[in-house]
Every structure is written in C-alpha cells, then in structure tokens.
C-alpha cells in the first residue's frame, strides 16, 4: 500500500481487479434499478415515466404483509427448533467420540447435497397428512437449515482452548450450568449469534422447499414474491422484492460483521 509499490503494476493483479470490478457492478446494478422500477409510475415507458410514486411500494406491502408476518413467525419457530436440536447435536459432535459419530455428521449434512425440491417431495411422500397444517413446511425448513447451524457451532465448541477453560472453571468450583453460562456461551457467543442470523436469513429466503410444501394458509414471503411476478405488474413485483431485501440484507450484513468467512464451515 505504500507509494513505492504503486509504480510497478502487476498485470495479473490488474486483471484480477478488473474482473472484480465488473463482477461487483454486475451484482449491484439490479439493486438501484429495482428501486427505480418500484417507484416509477409506468415502468414500460421508461425511467420514472409518469413521475415518481410510492403507490407500488404501498400496494406491494399490503399484498405481502400477511405473508411477511407468516415468514417471520415461521423463521422464529425454525430458529427455536434448530437451536433445541442443533445445539446439543453440535455439542455431541464436538465433544464426544462415539460409534456412529461420523454417520451422524453425514446425516445432518445430507440435506446440503440434496436439492430442496427432492427434500420437499420426499417429505410429501412420507408424511402427506402433515402438509395441510403447515407442519411439513416447518419440518422442511428445519431439515434444510439445521446443517448450517451445526456446522457453525460444532467447530466453536470443539476448540481445545475452550475445553481447557471449562476444565479450569470446574477446578474453581463451577457447576455444569455455571460453566455453560459463564464460560462456554461467552466463548461461542459470536458463532452462536452468527448461526442464528444465518438460520433466520435462510428461512426467510428459502424457496425450493417452501414452494412445494406451502398451503394457501401457510404461504411464505418468497413464494408470494414468485406469485407477484407471475400475476402482477412488474412495478409491484419490484416493490415486493425491495421490501423482501429490507428484511434479509441487514441480517446478511450482521453475519459478515460477525466473521462471515468462518460460518458454515464444518
């Protein structure tokens, strides 16, 4: 970064930087465009044709409001179940050697390798009666998100330094609950928080599994988003997408802040 290095430009580096710039532009360009479309009165005629309006955003919000709340509620339930199942599982994998440990790891990670559609179809075939109540939707999302939670928490729990600190806490008289609360949780706090946000974001944005498992009464935001594109004006669809991003982007930024590169790696 010093001035001495500026003169000698590495051609490979320059090409790399060029590609990065193009990739960033290609990825980010749709975002402002989306906002322009969502606030243009008559998009087919061009940029802000017919003036700037917030009508589409309002109309979009009214259309997706119930589904937004449904998705939030669903994500909350997925989070609770993932935590109840995933934290003990991650503990077991991180701290214990037992027969079938590798099989358990494989089983949990299996949904990562299977397309969401296949998971959904398998669930419908296996538990057809659970579909109407929305239980299957919940189950599908849990199966889909659980590997991410376990893969984020298990390495944090397996750190030898943490295990040693817990042992020291034991010799100092800390009970199992005290050790969990005063030593383990503070040490895995950021991994835990990141895992929770990750699961929340995945649940909010999940489409493949949800598209097959939703019912009219249990419809998630992304599924409604899809319907909007199919049936509504493009301006409304853009407005709904903008609303959707409002929920997901802050979470994604939070994950990155918490050390995103380490998350989701087994």
């Amino acid at each position: 970064m010093t001035h001495q290095h500026r003169g000698a430009t590495d051609p490979v580096m320059s090409i790399g930087q060029g590609f990065t710039l193009v990739a960033v532009v290609v990825c980010l360009a749709p975002l402002p465009l989306l906002l322009v479309v969502a606030t243009t009165a008559n998009w087919p005629l061009g940029f802000w044709a017919g003036g700037v309006t917030l009508d589409w955003l309002r109309q979009g919000w009214e259309a997706v409001q119930p589904y937004t709340f449904f998705s939030l509620r669903l994500a909350g339930m997925v989070l609770a179940i993932d935590l109840a199942v995933g934290l003990p599982t991650a503990w077991l994998i991180a701290r214990h050697e037992f027969t079938g440990r590798q099989a358990l790891v494989t089983l949990i990670n299996l949904p990562l390798a299977i397309p969401g559609i296949a998971i959904a179809l398998a669930l419908i075939l296996a538990y057809p009666l659970a579909r109407a109540s929305g239980l299957l939707l919940l189950l599908g999302q849990v199966v889909y998100t659980l590997p991410f939670l376990v893969a984020t928490l298990a390495p944090a729990l397996a750190q030898p330094a943490l295990i040693e600190r817990e042992a020291v806490a034991r010799t100092l008289g800390a009970s199992a609950i005290q050790r969990l609360w005063h030593v383990t949780l503070p040490a895995i706090r950021s991994a835990l928080l990141a895992a929770l946000i990750l699961v929340f974001t995945l649940s909010m944005g999940e489409f493949n599994v949800s598209f097959f498992l939703f019912t009219p009464l249990n419809k998630t935001l992304p599924v409604e988003l899809y319907s909007a594109y199919i049936t509504n004006r493009v301006e409304v669809a853009a407005a709904i997408t903008a609303i959707f991003l409002l929920f997901v982007v802050p979470a994604a930024i939070a994950i990155e802040r918490l050390g995103g590169s380490k998350i989701g790696q087994a």
Binding site: E164, A167, V168, A169, R170, L172, G173, A174, H182, A187
Partner: protein, 352 residues
C-alpha cells in the same frame, strides 16, 4: 492463608486407551506445603498426573489421597485443587479482576469476601495495577500471574502448575522462575509443578520426581538426585551426566578409561559399575603435562561465556563433554584426567 494438604499417590495407573497405560504404578507422598517438581521428557505422563490430582481424570488403578482422604468419586469442583494449565486458559471475555474473582463467585462467596480476597491475590501476585485490564492485553508473564492468582483465590489445598514457564520468552524465564518460587513459598500452598527442564526442576523444587514412560524413576531432593542418581536415566536426564562403565581397580578406586582413574565411594564390591561423569569432573591438561593421563580427542567446541564446552572422544570410554578455560584444536590428542579431589558419582548407590 491456605490450608496446605498432603497428596499421596498410591500405586496409581492411568490408561487413556485400554492396554496403553501412560501412568504406571506411581507412588509418591507429597508433604503439606511442599513444592514437588515432576520432571521428565515429553510424553512421560507428568501432565496426566496433574489431571488425576485435579480430578479431570480418574485413575484406572490405585488411589489418590488428598489430606488423607480418598478422592475416588470426587469431581474436580469438589476437590479444592487449583490447576494452571500450560496455556493458562484465562477467561478471555473477563478482565483480570473478574478472572481472579471467578472461583469465589462460582462458590457464591459474599461480595465483601470476594473484594477482599481478590485484592489480596492481586497484591500477592503483584498484578494490582493490571486489575481492570482485559486479559487479552497481557504479556505472557502477566498472564501466568493472573492464572496463579485465579487458582489461589479459592484457597486451594493443592496447586498444580503445568509447565508454567514454557510459554515465556527464554530471556525472561530465569527471572520469572525466581519470582514464581518466592510467590509459591509466600502462599505456602502444596504445589505440584510439571516441567521437562531439569534446571527449572532443581531451581524450584523441595523434592523432584523424575518420570520416564509413566513410571517414577527416582523421588528425592534435587541434591540427592544430583549426587546419587538411582539409574543411568536419572543421571543423564536430571544430572546432565554422561554415563560410562568403569572397572573397579581397588578399594574406593575405579578406572574410567585407560589412564583415567578416580576415587569413588562404594557400598558394594561389584567389579564393573556405572558412573555418571559431568563436564566439571574432568580436566584437559597441557599437551606436555607429566604424569598418568588418558587421551581425549576434541570434536566440537562451544563457547559458553567464561568457559568452553568441549565435546570429544575419551579414548577407551566414549563421547563426553568437558569444560575448559581455553579453546583447543579439534582432532588433536590431549591428555585428560579426573580433577584432583573430585569424587565421581556412582549410579545406583544408596546414600543415607
């Protein structure tokens, strides 16, 4: 301040996997308030012994007694034994004061007791000025003190230190070692101290247990181990000696090599015996020196400040190191003898 307890290992064995014991039939009796150093090469089971005392492991055979009480079935949280692992394992989300207070808080001491006891410990370990610092910001030596203060705060009956100096810069180690010894004496706590460094063991210990492959080879004061090593391993590992086979040539006299004879104290009349030769025991003579002498061919010379450490071949005996005040020529033959008045140490002799 602390009620120091005795620690007794009664025929203790431990195996991580069945059939592969890392601790074998260890018997040791540590007196209240004593500093016992467990020394041995890596993998000899010394850290495992500490974990057995802490209750983090339970012996697969034998009994552990603390203060005369059998510890089988006692979890670590009920033993009142302080453990300082090699990494120190400080609680990194807490500051120095809260690290030291941790054990007292877990044991639900009153606020006033905690305040007072933490203050005492910070003073004792001379870290009062660091009290509000996050532990992440501390140096190695400071971390060590925090870890010891944290362990001592709950008034443990026994303190276990696992290689407490290993993580420090070599330049600081000697100074911190002296400080640490003073701190342990001041606290009066029974201490088991693990190291692989014999110099450290000699400097700190009341008594030393030399371990090899899970067994105690010898247990005694540093002087006793130095003067009368029980076997060749102790002489080499703890005493830093070269072990040679010598012939008995008369009452109280042995021959190390052709022309090299020395007085010894013997309590049996074996014909051949093992002796421990240290670098201070022999002297290289001027080339034209008169009198009886052996022959020594230097192969390497190390400058060590006020002396030269000269390694070479003692003809008819083997390779050894001799201290000498001048450099010598590698490959040339020098006359050599045992320093007059110096008694050579015989391995396996029992002194009282």
């Amino acid at each position: 301040m602390t009620t120091a307890a005795s620690v007794v290992f009664e025929n203790i064995s431990y195996a991580y996997a069945p059939g592969h014991p890392v601790v074998k039939d260890v018997c040791l009796a540590v007196q209240p308030g004593e500093i016992v150093v467990l020394v041995g090469p890596s993998g000899c089971g010394k850290s495992t012994l500490l974990r057995l005392v802490a209750g983090l492991l339970f012996p697969t055979a034998g009994r552990l007694l603390i203060d005369g009480c059998d510890m089988s079935g006692f979890a670590p949280e009920r033993r009142l034994v302080g453990w300082v692992p090699q990494s120190y394992a400080l609680f990194e989300h807490l500051n120095v004061r809260d690290n030291v207070a941790f054990g007292l808080r877990m044991r639900r001491a009153t606020k006033e007791t905690i305040r007072q006891r933490v203050h005492e410990m910070l003073e004792l370990c001379r870290i009062s000025e660091l009290a509000d610092r996050p532990v992440m910001q501390l140096s190695g030596g400071q971390r060590q003190r925090v870890a010891i203060a944290r362990a001592l705060a709950v008034s443990p009956r026994v303190l276990l230190l696992d290689e407490p100096l290993a993580a420090l810069d070599p330049q600081l180690r000697a100074a911190i070692r002296a400080d640490l010894q003073a701190l342990l004496r001041a606290s009066g706590v029974t201490t088991l101290f693990v190291t692989h460094d014999q110099e450290e063991a000699m400097a700190v210990a009341d008594r030393v247990a030399v371990l090899r492959a899970g067994r105690v080879e010898q247990f005694g004061t540093p002087q006793a181990l130095w003067q009368s090593p029980a076997n060749a391993f102790v002489a080499q590992f703890f005493g830093g000696a070269t072990v040679l086979t010598a012939q008995r040539i008369g009452p109280g006299c042995v021959r190390l090599a052709p022309g090299v004879e020395a007085p010894v104290t013997l309590d049996d009349d074996a014909h051949t015996l093992q002796i421990a030769v240290r670098s201070q025991d022999l002297e290289i003579l001027p080339e034209a020196a008169p009198g009886q002498a052996g022959q020594f061919i230097p192969t390497a010379i190390e400058f060590a400040g006020d002396v030269f450490k000269i390694t070479g071949e003692l003809i008819g005996a083997g390779t050894l190191t001799v201290l000498h005040d001048r450099p010598v020529t590698v490959g040339r033959r020098y006359p050599i003898r045992v320093k007059p008045g110096r008694a050579i140490c015989v391995i396996g002799q029992h002194y009282n």
